[in-house]
């Protein structure tokens, strides 16, 4: 089943085609969300919302454009929503920071570290820079395609990507120097 058949089937509400779409693009959407959010649970939630939104609004997809880019645009926007939600939650819980915890939170031995997470070095990047880097490195996207996902001009996307590459390289070199010279 090719991409056109899958989209056509999803428009008819076919469950088989919807499953095929998740199988075809699920890992891609999940990896983008995971690289932006750096949290497996949140990334799965975002991926689920992305596909649900895509199925609901598939009639708005312009066949003249890349379907992958359209889907990744939804995933990126849902990831930003998740980051905002997380920020609001952090602000809310910050008040309770100094209270003594009732029970020590232990990581779940089954799920902890079961799935890979992006390097903590990427935390220095903004969500836009992280998305630009992820699309460039994992999907081979150029500035123009990245701009379609981020909803900005190609110039801006190029600057995001450049900044991301330069910042991380500087951090890597810094780490290397620290390891070399103690």
């Amino acid at each position: 089943m090719d991409e056109g058949d899958i989209i056509e089937g999803c428009l008819r509400g076919s469950l088989v085609c919807q499953k095929a779409m998740v199988e075809a693009y699920g890992t891609l959407v999940l990896s983008v969300a995971l690289n932006v959010l750096a949290n497996r649970q949140d990334a799965e939630d975002v991926s689920q919302e992305t596909f649900l939104q895509a199925f609901r609004h598939l009639d708005r997809y312009d066949p003249g454009r890349s379907f992958k880019t359209w889907l990744l645009t939804i995933a990126y926007r849902r990831s930003l929503d998740m980051l905002r939600k997380r920020r609001r939650f952090t602000q809310f819980t910050a008040r309770a920071r100094y209270e003594t915890p009732v029970a020590v939170e232990r990581p779940d031995p089954v799920t902890a570290d079961a799935a890979p997470l992006p390097s903590r070095l990427l935390e220095v990047l903004s969500p836009r820079e992280r998305t630009a880097l992820c699309l460039w490195a994992n999907d081979g996207y150029a500035a123009k395609d990245i701009s379609a996902v981020l909803g900005c001009s190609a110039s801006t996307a190029r600057v995001y990507l450049f900044n991301a590459r330069r910042k991380i390289k500087a951090l890597l070199e810094n780490d290397h120097e620290i390891l070399q010279h103690g």
Binding site: C10, L11, R12, G13, S14, L15, Q18, K19, V22, E23, G26, T27, L28, L30, S31, L34, N35, E44, S47, Q48, F51, L52, F55, R56, H57, L58, D59, A115, P116, L117, P118, S119, L121, L122, L133, C134, W136, A137, N138, S153, A154, S155, T156, R158, V159, F162, A164, R165, R166, I168, K169, A170, L172
Partner: protein, 158 residues
């Protein structure tokens, strides 16, 4: 080498994205020294989680299918949405009606609703006598110039 430093300074000092983009395209993408200071694709891939490392999507599909409403063809809904275009048209129509109604009200409220009936001017004002507390009072009658108003001032006789 010298131009790289100049470009770096310009890039840092001028925060205009278009200008920075021009610097990237004109120099940094072509200069081997500048390229060496950028993360390569392989290095980036080693730091990121690629689609091949996220695992299967069976669990994701289970979650999606569980959260999905009973499948309704999107095309059918589109036709239904198109037939309901009047709902969207009703909003500006209602806004226009409210605006016009508002103007009409404003114009009518500003106008004096009841025209004051011009009272025929009295040709003569007569006052036989005025008593205050059973005794005849001093009476003064004023008529401002150019008006039909008449003021009568009465005070107790000292």
């Amino acid at each position: 080498m010298r131009s790289c430093s100049t470009v770096d300074v310009l890039y840092a000092v001028i925060p205009l994205r278009r200008f920075r983009d021009w610097l990237i395209r004109a120099h940094m993408e072509r200069c081997p020294r500048c390229q060496a200071r950028l993360l390569s694709r392989d290095e980036a891939q080693s730091l990121l989680v690629g689609p091949d490392r996220v695992g299967g999507v069976e669990d994701l599909w289970r979650r999606i299918s569980g959260a999905m409403e009973p499948a309704a063809p999107v095309r059918g809904r589109t036709a239904e949405a198109r037939s309901g275009w009047w709902r969207w048209a009703a909003v500006p129509a209602m806004a226009a009606a409210v605006t016009l109604g508002g103007f009409w009200l404003l114009r009518n409220v500003e106008k004096p609703r009841f025209e004051a009936v011009a009272v025929a001017s009295a040709e003569r004002f007569e006052l036989d006598y005025v008593k205050v507390a059973g005794a005849p009072a001093q009476t003064f009658v004023y008529q401002p110039q150019g008006t039909d108003a008449v003021f009568v001032w009465v005070s107790k006789t000292p």
